[in-house]
């Protein structure tokens, strides 16, 4: 009896103190790939998110942001499961999700079943997510995989003189989108893509894939990420591979360039394109790199933020700034917030970002080349900066629509 009473008192005092001190909270659910092949990418994404909170703070007027994190493994069902859990169990009002391409398409479709909530894409980059039947409450402040390849095809053809290339990529939507952007530009310039190999996400043994690489090409394009990229490079080194390489946006990225072991050295000199370049001299970018470095001890971060950190930073920043514009007003199904998100232009570390009518980012792209800093650390050095890249890659929307959606075989290698 006494015990019961005590419990009751404890409980009621807890409730009292709760009402007395708590500010009103805005609950935001965040997902990242903290398991599986893309673990390292998810972790660095979360570092970018944390950096944004350190820089911008969590206060929205008199309210405070509260974040609930859920883990996924880059598969669409894991993302939907995580988002559903965040909404139904944790009662979040806004989502910052997801990280990976297939997840993005699934979460966008799921967003339609919750039109009252707001979804801000964290880092996923499949074209379909915002290009086909976009959800009115889904906002993406990073470019898609094809936009991230703008400039690479021309640079390879014109400056490097590559005429024939082959591609190896993970078999899912984001890499399809990356290869789409590459092929469109490279073949448009007059190049040839002779062979496109697709490997399942999470492949460990690439030996046979490496053996099947053609030898009569000028360069091999690698569209791999996370553990897959590291495994590929390791086995490529063991097989004595010597071809010129080109890299996708998550291949030539600190997640791979900072991996342990010597296999990554095969990447020195590799050309790539991405939504960022490690050595860009823009003060805004340098400030972000500094903030990232200051937020974590050296052993718990990369020397320089990865693309994922930058994307999570950008999307967190867009969300916080938009929330501040409307003073945290989430009434009327968050109408004011959605309006603000659609209109906001952010000064992201990797250049100015604004949204198009599909709520897809228009931003800046970078062609890069991998360099060794002399102390054994690899960085992507900026070769070319291309501002104002939109989702149709500068094509007339009607022409772009005819190309088809990125897939294993689309686009054909020809000039559109």
């Amino acid at each position: 009896m006494l015990k019961g009473n005590l419990g009751l008192i404890a409980l009621s005092s807890l409730l009292l103190s709760g009402t007395a001190f708590a500010q009103e909270k805005i609950k935001v659910g965040v997902t990242a790939t903290l398991e599986g092949t893309y673990t390292v990418l998810g972790e660095d994404g979360m570092r970018g998110h944390q950096t944004a909170l350190n820089v911008l703070g969590k206060k929205i007027g008199d309210k405070e942001l509260e974040f609930v994190v859920a883990s996924t493994d880059a598969t669409p069902d894991s993302a939907v499961r995580a988002v559903r859990k965040l909404i139904e169990q944790d009662k979040v009002q806004i989502l910052l999700s997801p990280l990976s391409g297939d997840e993005g398409i699934a979460v966008k479709n799921f967003a339609k079943t919750h039109p009252e909530l707001t979804f801000v894409n964290a880092a996923s980059g499949a074209q379909e997510t915002t290009y086909v039947d976009p959800a009115p409450n889904f906002f993406r402040y990073n470019m898609d995989g094809a936009q991230w390849q703008v400039g690479l095809g021309k640079y390879a053809y014109e400056t490097k003189g590559y005429r024939k290339i082959a591609t190896v990529g993970e078999d899912y939507s984001f890499i399809y989108t990356q290869v789409f952007g590459l092929v469109l530009e490279f073949c448009g310039a007059g190049g040839q893509v002779t062979n496109r190999q697709w490997v399942p996400l999470g492949t460990k043994d690439f030996a046979s894939v490496i053996a099947a690489l053609p030898d009569d090409v000028d360069a091999i394009y690698l569209g791999l990420g996370g553990a897959d990229a590291v495994n590929f490079l390791n086995q490529y080194q063991q097989a004595g591979g010597k071809a010129h390489l080109m890299g996708g946006s998550i291949m030539i990225d600190q997640t791979i360039l900072s991996s342990k072991g010597s296999a990554k050295n095969a990447l020195v000199g590799t050309i790539a394109a991405s939504g960022q370049a490690d050595t860009w001299e823009d003060p805004n970018w340098q400030k972000f790199v500094k903030a990232y470095q200051d937020s974590f001890p050296e052993s718990k971060r990369f020397p320089s933020p990865s693309l994922l950190a930058t994307n999570y930073y950008g999307s967190t920043m867009a969300l916080i700034l938009a929330l501040r514009q409307v003073n945290g007003d989430l009434s009327n199904n968050q109408a004011k917030l959605k309006d603000a998100l659609a209109k906001i232009e952010i000064d992201a570390p990797n250049g100015k970002i604004k949204l198009d009518s599909n709520r897809q980012a228009i931003g800046t792209n970078f062609v890069t080349e991998v360099v060794d800093d002399g102390k054994g650390a690899l960085f992507s050095k900026v070769v070319k900066v291309i501002p104002n890249v939109n989702q149709t890659l500068g094509y007339d929307p009607a022409v772009f629509a005819k190309i088809g959606l990125p897939s294993r075989t689309v686009p054909e290698c020809k000039k559109y």
């Binding site: 390292v40 043994d205 046979s208 590291v230």
Partner: protein, 336 residues
């Protein structure tokens, strides 16, 4: 062999033809028509060799698993964690001392010790209670996975291949003849060959130890009937501890091997647990030759699948498992 041919003449014929075709594919120069149909010979040979060498790695993991199961009838679902732990230990030792060979020894001893502790602290207390052991090992594997994530983080680790093993060697297998008449031989990564040879040596040593030594005799007797064995005065608990230590140690060695030609990261534990489960289901629970056969079959299926039917490569492994379960549920080389 002779009895098999007498009893199943049709099957024997099929097997002989298959072996002949395989030998021809490996040694002959492919006619242009065949190359046009299924691709270059170099790719095929590489896929076959990769399958066999990957099978070597699978065998190292699965042999410990099947040994423990065979003797103690306990399905150790924390076996994948032992693999990953061994890999991390190997990585730490090889970066610290710079010796690749030493990393194997330390990984074997460290993981074998974990095995001893597991056997003494966990399995001994719940002998004969299959369900309880299974649940406890699942729980342990989750705890181990989180502990390792805590210590080593989500990063990828690679055990540094020693310099003398990096790069390819030329094998005496013809892949093509150039138009100038000059033969082209197959280039193959040396490290994979060495690792495969090592797993063959370990496999043969294990077979010899089981079939030619006194301790092996005791273990085999224990597999057949451990109550009678205990009644004859053998200290069965000591045998259990030894076998568990050996099985766990093998998983540790496999971890270093896996860390050398693939990479170590969270999630590898479940992948290798699944691989060894499939291997022993195909080969037969508790049988060492079965584990070897199963490992090679699964390795070949994965590699040939990834080259010739990349879209369905993942399914092939499980199709094989389903087929075996349907036709010969006890496994290909199981004794009962």
């Amino acid at each position: 062999m002779a009895r098999f041919i007498e009893r199943h003449p049709a099957w024997a014929l099929i097997v002989i033809i298959a072996v002949a075709v395989l030998l021809w594919l490996v040694f002959a120069i492919w006619p242009p028509g065949l190359e046009a149909a299924i691709g270059r010979k170099r790719v095929f040979l590489n896929a076959v060799l990769n399958g066999i060498t990957l099978g070597g790695l699978y065998f190292l993991v699965a042999s410990g698993f099947t040994l423990i199961f065979g003797l103690m009838r306990n399905v150790n679902l924390a076996h994948g964690s032992l693999y990953l732990f061994g890999g991390y230990i190997g990585y730490a030792v090889s970066t610290w001392t710079g010796s690749w060979i030493l990393s194997f020894i330390v990984a074997f001893i460290a993981v074998a010790l974990v095995g001893v502790i597991l056997q003494l602290a966990v399995f001994r207390r719940m002998e004969g209670q299959d369900l309880r052991q299974t649940m406890v090992t699942i729980g342990l594997s989750i705890v181990f996975a989180d502990l390792m994530l805590w210590v080593f983080g989500g990063d990828f680790y690679q055990v540094q291949t020693p310099a003398w093993l990096i790069g390819p060697v030329q094998l005496p297998l013809l892949t093509a003849i150039k138009s100038s008449g000059e033969p082209v031989y197959l280039q193959y990564p040396l490290v994979r060959l060495v690792i495969f040879l090592a797993s063959v040596v370990i496999g043969v040593a294990m077979w010899l130890a089981l079939n030619r030594t006194r301790i092996g005799m005791i273990v085999r007797a224990g597999v057949d009937d451990r109550d009678i064995l205990a009644a004859t005065g053998v200290r069965i608990q000591l045998v259990f501890v030894l076998v568990f230590a050996l099985g766990a140690g093998l998983a540790g060695i496999a971890g270093v091997v896996g860390g050398t030609f693939q990479s170590l990261s969270p999630g590898e534990d479940t992948r290798f647990l699944l691989a060894s489960l499939v291997v022993v289901i195909v080969g037969g629970m508790g049988s060492i030759p079965g584990a070897a056969l199963g490992a090679v079959i699964i390795g070949l299926a994965e590699q040939l699948g990834s080259v010739y039917i990349p879209t369905y490569a993942i399914v092939v492994t499980f199709l094989i498992m389903v087929l075996v379960l349907a036709v010969r549920p006890q496994g290909l080389l199981a004794r009962r």
